[in-house]
C-alpha cells in the first residue's frame, strides 16, 4: 500500500470513529430500562408479584458439599433456551456449585447427542421434543397430558442414563401466528380450523424442517385436512410476517415479539401439538453429584416459570435487547432466589 493510501485509510478510520462518537452524543433513542421492582402487593405470581414472606423463603441457601462439585450446563440455540440455561446456571452457582457454561450447543439433535456422549452434563429440553426427536416416538403416540408426557420422557431418558427432573409449569408449544392486518382480511379467525377454506390461498412460514415434521406443518395439514398454498422456509418469522412475505407463520407460544400485540395467535383446536414443558435433563452421574438438594434448587427455581413470565423474559432479550444473563439474574432476584 502506498503512503497516500495509508493516509486515506487512516482518515477513513478516524472519520468512522468520530462519526460513532457524534452519533452517541446526538442520538436520543429511547431504550427500554428495566421495569421498576415489584410493588408490595398481593397480586398472584402471574403478574410477577409475590408476597414478601414467600420471597424471603425462596432464597437459595448454599448446599453442603457443593463447593467441590463442578458440572457443565448447556442449552439449545434460541433465546428461551439461553435464558433458561442462564437461570439454572446462576441458581446452581448461588447454591455453591461450580458450573461451566456451554450454551448454544445447537439444534436438538446436536444438543441431545452432546448430552448422551457426556460433552455436556445437562441442558433443558422440552418433553415433547425429547420424545419425538430424541426417542423417535411418533407424534400421535405422545400423550397430550403434560404430566404423562413428562413421565414417558423421564422413562426414555432413564434408559440412556439421563435423569429428567420435574417439569416446568409452562409449556412452549407451536401455534400459528398472523398479523393483525391479515386477521382482519381473513375475518378474524381465532383457531386454526377457521383457516380451512382460505388456506389454499395462504403462504405459511416455518423453519426448514417444519414442512416434513408431524409436530409442525405436516401434522397440521394432515390433522386439519387442508393444505396451504406455499411453504416459505426461513428462520426470521416475525420479519417475514411483518414484510408480508408470508401470511401465516409457525410461532412459539412464549415468543417475545408476541407480547408486542401486533400478532394474533390461533388456537390449536384439534390438539395437534404435543406438550412441551421444560425438564432439566441431567446425566445420572451429575445428578448424583448434585444430590437431592441440588436437584431441588433446579425444581424450585422453576416455580414461577409461567407462560406470561417466560414471554416477558423472552421479550426482554428479543425486543428490549437486554443481555441474557441480566434477564436471568433479574428473574432470580424478582422472586427472591438471589438478592
Amino acid at each position: 500500500m502506498t503512503r497516500s493510501s495509508f493516509r486515506i485509510l487512516f482518515a477513513m478510520l478516524a472519520i468512522l470513529v468520530l462519526g460513532v462518537f457524534i452519533a452517541a452524543c446526538g442520538d436520543d433513542d429511547k431504550s427500554s430500562d428495566t421495569p421498576t421492582p415489584a410493588a408490595q402487593s398481593t397480586a398472584p405470581a402471574k403478574s410477577g408479584d409475590i408476597p414478601a414472606d414467600e420471597k424471603t423463603a425462596n432464597k437459595i441457601a448454599p448446599v453442603d458439599g457443593a463447593a467441590g462439585v463442578s458440572l457443565s450446563v448447556g442449552s439449545k440455540n434460541f433465546t428461551e433456551q439461553y435464558i433458561l440455561g442462564e437461570i439454572y446456571i446462576q441458581a446452581l452457582e448461588a447454591a455453591g456449585y461450580k458450573v461451566k457454561k456451554d450454551l448454544d450447543l445447537g439444534p436438538e439433535r446436536v444438543a441431545h447427542a452432546a448430552l448422551v456422549k457426556g460433552v455436556v452434563d445437562a441442558y433443558p429440553e422440552y418433553t415433547g421434543t425429547a420424545l419425538t426427536s430424541a426417542f423417535k416416538v411418533k407424534v400421535e403416540d405422545v400423550p397430550k397430558d403434560p404430566q404423562q408426557a413428562y413421565e414417558e420422557a423421564k422413562a426414555a431418558y432413564a434408559k440412556v442414563g439421563i435423569t429428567a427432573l420435574a417439569p416446568t409449569p409452562f409449556e412452549n408449544t407451536y401455534r400459528l401466528g398472523i398479523t393483525k392486518a391479515t386477521a382482519e382480511k381473513l375475518g378474524n379467525p381465532t383457531k386454526i380450523s377457521d383457516l380451512a377454506d382460505k388456506a389454499s390461498t395462504l403462504t405459511i412460514n416455518g423453519f426448514p424442517a417444519c414442512r416434513q415434521r408431524i409436530d409442525c406443518l405436516l401434522g397440521v395439514q394432515r390433522t386439519y385436512g387442508f393444505e396451504f398454498k406455499k411453504f416459505l422456509p426461513g428462520e426470521q418469522k416475525y420479519q417475514v410476517l411483518d414484510n408480508g412475505d408470508t401470511d401465516v407463520a409457525f410461532v412459539f407460544t412464549t415468543d417475545g415479539p408476541l407480547s408486542s400485540g401486533k400478532y394474533v395467535v390461533l388456537e390449536d383446536d384439534k390438539d395437534v401439538f404435543p406438550p412441551y414443558n421444560i425438564t432439566f435433563a441431567v446425566r445420572d452421574e451429575a445428578a448424583k453429584k448434585l444430590g437431592p438438594e441440588g436437584q431441588k434448587v433446579i425444581t424450585d427455581v422453576q416455580k414461577y416459570m409461567t407462560p406470561e413470565i417466560m414471554q416477558e423474559l423472552n421479550a426482554r432479550v428479543d425486543l428490549d435487547k437486554q443481555e441474557r444473563d441480566k434477564v436471568a439474574a433479574d428473574y432470580l432476584q424478582q422472586f427472591g432466589f438471589t438478592s
Binding site: M1, T2, S5, I8, L9, P107, E108, R109, K117, T132, S133, K136, K138, F207, P208, A209, Q212, R213, I214, L218, L232, P233, G234, E235, Q236, Q239, V240, N243, D245
Partner: protein, 263 residues
C-alpha cells in the same frame, strides 16, 4: 436402512466411511425420513434442490462478473483507485456471509432474488481485486508499445491487457464460484430451498442426508469450476496458451506487487 443415532465416537473412521456410503445411496434412493414421516432423498429431490442451488449461485456469479469486471478493467487500465479496487475489496472478503444474508433479509425480505443479491455482494471482492491486479501486472512496455502503434485506450484493453490478464481474472472468478456455492447452503433460512435444506433439517434427512447434500455441493463446485476453466480456455488467444505454461506467475492469488525494476 436408518443409520441415524449411531454412536460415532467408538469407531470414527469406520463410522464416517459408513455414513459416506449411506450418503451416496441417499442421493439415488428415495426412502422414509428419519422421523418416519415423508419420503426423502432420491435423485428427484436432490436434483430439485441442486437446481435451485445452482440457479441462485449462477445468477449471482454472472451478475457479479458483469459488475466487477468492467470496473476492474477500467480502473486497472488507468491505474487508479488501487485502495478501492484492492484494499477495500480484499477487506470486503472479511464480512461474513451470514451477516450479508441476514442484512439483506432484514432490509429486502426473503426469496430467490434477494438471496441472489446477497450472494452477488459476496462474489464481487475476489473478482474485482483480481481483475484490477491482472490488468496492473501486464508488462507496461507492452502497453507503451501498443500506444506507440496508435491504439486507443479501449483497443489496448481489448487486444493487449485483457488477454494477458485473463488467467488472473478467471482465477478470481473461480474463487467466487467456490465461495458463492458454499454460501448458498444458508439460503433455506432466508426463504429458498437449496442443498442447504437437508443440512438444516438434519432430524428429517439424517446424517446421510446431510453428507449427501455436502457431497452434492462439492460436485456442483467442481463442475462449475470446470465450466469456467473451459470458458477460460476458449477466451485465451492461442499464442498465450503456449506462453502461459512458462508464466507461472499468473497462477497465484494476487495483490499488486511492485516489483523492483531490474536494470
Amino acid at each position: 436402512m436408518a443409520a441415524g443415532g449411531r454412536d460415532m465416537t467408538t469407531a470414527p473412521i469406520a463410522g464416517i466411511l459408513d455414513t459416506f456410503g449411506g450418503a451416496v445411496e441417499f442421493i439415488f434412493e428415495r426412502r422414509p425420513s428419519d422421523a418416519g414421516t415423508v419420503d426423502v432423498g432420491g435423485l428427484g429431490e436432490i436434483g430439485h434442490l441442486a437446481g435451485n442451488h445452482f440457479a441462485v449461485s449462477f445468477l449471482a456469479i454472472v451478475v457479479s462478473i458483469a459488475v466487477s469486471v468492467p470496473i476492474g478493467l477500467w480502473l486497472g487500465h488507468l491505474g487508479k483507485a488501487e485502495l478501492l479496487a484492492v484494499g477495500v475489496a480484499n477487506v470486503g472478503r472479511a464480512v461474513p456471509a451470514l451477516a450479508i444474508i441476514g442484512f439483506c433479509v432484514a432490509f429486502l425480505g426473503t426469496g430467490f432474488r434477494n438471496i441472489a443479491f446477497a450472494l452477488t455482494l459476496l462474489a464481487i471482492p475476489p473478482i474485482l481485486t483480481n481483475t484490477y491486479v491482472g490488468m496492473r501486472q501486464v508488462d507496461p512496455e507492452l502497453v507503451d508499445a501498443a500506444r506507440g502503434q496508435g491504439l486507443s485506450g479501449f483497443q489496448i484493453v481489448r487486444q493487449v491487457e485483457w488477454p494477458l490478464a485473463l488467467p488472473t481474472i478467471f482465477g478470481g472468478i473461480r474463487i467466487s464460484v467456490v465461495t458463492v456455492l458454499a454460501t448458498a447452503i444458508i439460503a433455506p433460512v432466508a426463504g429458498l430451498d437449496t442443498l442447504g435444506t437437508p443440512i438444516f433439517s438434519e432430524e428429517i434427512y439424517g446424517d446421510e442426508g446431510v453428507l449427501a447434500a455436502a457431497i452434492a455441493v462439492a460436485f456442483l463446485t467442481l463442475g462449475t469450476d470446470a465450466i469456467f476453466a473451459a470458458l477460460q480456455r476458449i477466451a485465451t488467444p492461442k499464442g498465450l496458451k503456449v506462453a502461459a505454461r512458462d508464466n507461472r506467475r499468473r497462477r497465484s492469488w494476487p495483490i499488486p506487487i511492485r516489483r523492483v525494476q531490474h536494470p
